[in-house]
Amino acid sequence: MSGATGTTRTADTGFTAGRTGARLAELRAEGRGALVGYLPVGYPTVERSIEAARTMVEAGADVIEIGVPYTDPVMDGPTVQRAVEAALEGGTRVRDVFRLVSAVADLGVPALVMTYWNPVLRYGPDAFARDLAQAGGAGLITPDLIPDEADAWLAASDAHDLDRVFLVAPSSTPERLAATSAASRGFVYAASTMGVTGERTTLGGGAERLVAATRDAGAEHVCVGLGISTGAQAAEVGRFADGVIVGSALVRTLLDDAPFAQQLEALSGLTAQLADGVRSARSGA
């Protein structure tokens, strides 16, 4: 588990690279960015979400982002909403996320949990951090928690040595890019466009500018998410970002009526295509 090394701190900016950051640094040395694949726990069932995550790792995902199903996912578009709604209807509990984290960590891949804040608040931020660390998790991505409101999470993630991935957006001011970069550990999540999760045909030039601005503001690693669904898009983003985050497109392979084995095949195929994209991005092509 070379990814799970300790925390390193770059003295001049205050930005720190946790366990995900160490993996991103390794991949950078190899001349490529990471493929970060998202799936919600409990869709279609907890067991099957574990199988799906394993499939993604085998097909080339470098980091797994595990979503905690939540009743009010305001940063998610229809695809992820449908999956998390089904997961909740199926009786998925917040604590189920630790089973999936543990399964992913056993494969030697950083497991980040993507969660809205209230489930963590209800669980208790320190208790959640403790149980996440115990399961081998790398940290949290928090779409509705900005560093300004995150005192409890900053303390808990320090106490349990966890990554904390905050988001930046095209609308973020230079001051906020700097503050968010300083508060983040692992990487900074750059939202490629203004909007919610979901597939988009074009990404525009905003993502590259945002990554550059976030690096200028002190971030060591910046990964890009929102709207990426094809190998070509992954290659485009992988050229300038430390990681390419894909969610809705992967989730969609599990949303149709096909038998699960067939869905896994589609998931594997798309993951491989995205992984190829990321790997070819800086090969001088």
Binding site: D72, R93, R122, P143, I146, A169, S171, M194, G195, V196
Partner: protein, 432 residues
């Protein structure tokens, strides 16, 4: 030294002077904040600055005052209701008649304030959420008046229950989008409005309808509704010769309650908020956040919240669509925890009994939301009388009129054949 009231940027943000009336966000005790995606922070910061500048600008205030007077019909009257009061232990009961405002409720106060602010900010599109349709109708109205594009998100279940308000909004030129995800009610309409706002924040303002959400919404919406209490305080002093003993209001998100409470926060006056108790708090089918919920985060603010042990939002229930919401204003949460205001649940049955009583004794058909406040007034009036204070003065915010609730009430009291209601609604709908 600059006068802080004339220099908005010099005003403290997280601090407050001695008066509880001017408490500034983002925090009210342990409550409030900005629990939203980073993408919205720049817009919230801009809104905060523009709002402070606007309310300190005499021209803005004059224009808002003019609209309130000439368009809304302010000041709204104060009506004493002696026949109703006979059922409230014989105390004196006064109603603040927000039901007589243009569009039929207090909602227009906030909508006009925010819509003028939108013009000032140079945005041309507004979005809003609505449950029963009152805030949606008010927003569509202001958008028509001020030439703004308007999109209203409404849970699909609510669009079916409130078909006439959907038609009303469309007549006013608004686009109504039925929300088909989640529980298909107000909570999900807010989720969808937030998603729209994240994607279109450059040219769009989210015209939030109540005193909750991320800072500066609670403070700003309070500002635009505080006129209710300012007027009522003067009117009661004039008519009763003294301050009321108790001020009573229903609390959904909490805008009408805060609007009337605010002017009395520094007085020795009891403040009583009534939440929707639905079938009864012990049945689990209610919207009583204070007696049946716990602190948590929803829609941008930390407040009291109906939630399960995993922090998942629980569905709320009420006969009144306007009170059917699982969270509540962080300012009310703060007033609750500090003990400055008290909050009690009123069941559907108690509210409907008070509804019937006001219709029959005073010839006023209240909104079912406001009927919860009336039910609270009946209880507190009897309590006051029982403790020997039968000369007590109770002030009730009659936040809206009941036209929109006629079908629900007719069904509740079984005064019209079910099929006739459906037929009447269809005929009325098509003739619109």
């Amino acid at each position: 030294m600059t006068d802080p009231t004339n220099d908005p940027e010099a005003r403290p943000v997280a601090d407050h002077d001695e008066s509880l009336q001017h408490t500034h966000g983002p925090y009210y005790g342990d409550f409030g904040g900005r629990f939203v995606p980073e993408a919205l922070i720049a817009a919230l910061d801009e809104l905060d600055v523009e709002y402070r500048r606007a309310v300190a600008d005499p021209e803005f205030r004059a224009e808002l005052d003019r609209l309130q007077r000439e368009y809304t019909g302010r000041p709204s009257p104060l009506t004493e209701v002696p026949r109703f009061a006979e059922h409230a232990g014989g105390v004196r009961v006064f109603l603040k008649r927000e039901d007589l405002n243009h569009t039929g409720s207090h909602k227009i106060n906030n909508v006009l304030g925010q819509a003028l602010l939108v013009k000032r900010m140079g945005k041309r599109r507004v979005i809003a959420e609505t449950g029963a349709g009152q805030h949606g109708v008010a927003t569509a109205t202001a958008a028509a008046l001020l030439d703004l594009e308007c999109v209203v998100y409404m849970g699909e279940e609510d669009t079916e229950r409130q078909a006439l308000n959907v038609a009303r909004m469309r007549l006013l030129g608004a686009t109504v989008v039925p929300v088909k995800l989640g529980s298909r009610t107000l909570k999900d309409a807010i989720n969808e409005a937030l998603r729209d706002w994240v994607a279109n924040v450059d040219d769009t303002h989210y015209l939030l309808g109540t005193v909750t959400g991320p800072h500066p919404f609670p403070e700003m919406v309070r500002e635009f509704h505080k006129v209710i209490g300012q007027e009522a305080r003067e009117q009661v002093l004039d008519r009763a010769g003294r301050l009321p003993d108790v001020v009573v209001a229903c609390v959904g998100g909490g805008s009408n309650a805060l609007g009337i409470f605010n002017a009395f926060l520094d007085d020795d006056v009891r403040l009583l908020g009534l939440e929707a108790g639905g079938d009864g708090v012990d049945t689990g089918r209610h919207s009583a956040r204070f007696s049946g919920g716990a602190p948590g985060v929803l829609h941008g603010a930390r407040s009291y919240l109906l939630q399960d042990e995993d922090g998942q939002t629980l569905p709320s229930h009420s006969v009144s669509a306007g009170l059917d919401y699982p969270s509540v204003s962080p300012i009310h949460a703060w007033l609750h925890d500090t003990g400055r205001a008290e909050y009690r649940p009123v069941t559907d049955a108690e509210a409907m009994e008070a509804f019937r009583l006001l219709c029959r004794t005073e010839g006023i058909i209240p909104a079912i939301e406001s009927a919860h406040a009336l039910a609270g007034a009946l209880v507190v009036g009897r309590e006051l009388a029982a403790s020997g204070k039968d000369d007590a003065v109770v002030l009730v915010n009659l936040s809206g009129r009941g036209d929109k609730d006629v079908a629900t009430a007719a069904r509740w009291f079984d005064v019209v054949d079910e099929q006739d209601i459906a037929k009447a609604a269809t005929t009325e709908g098509s003739s619109l």
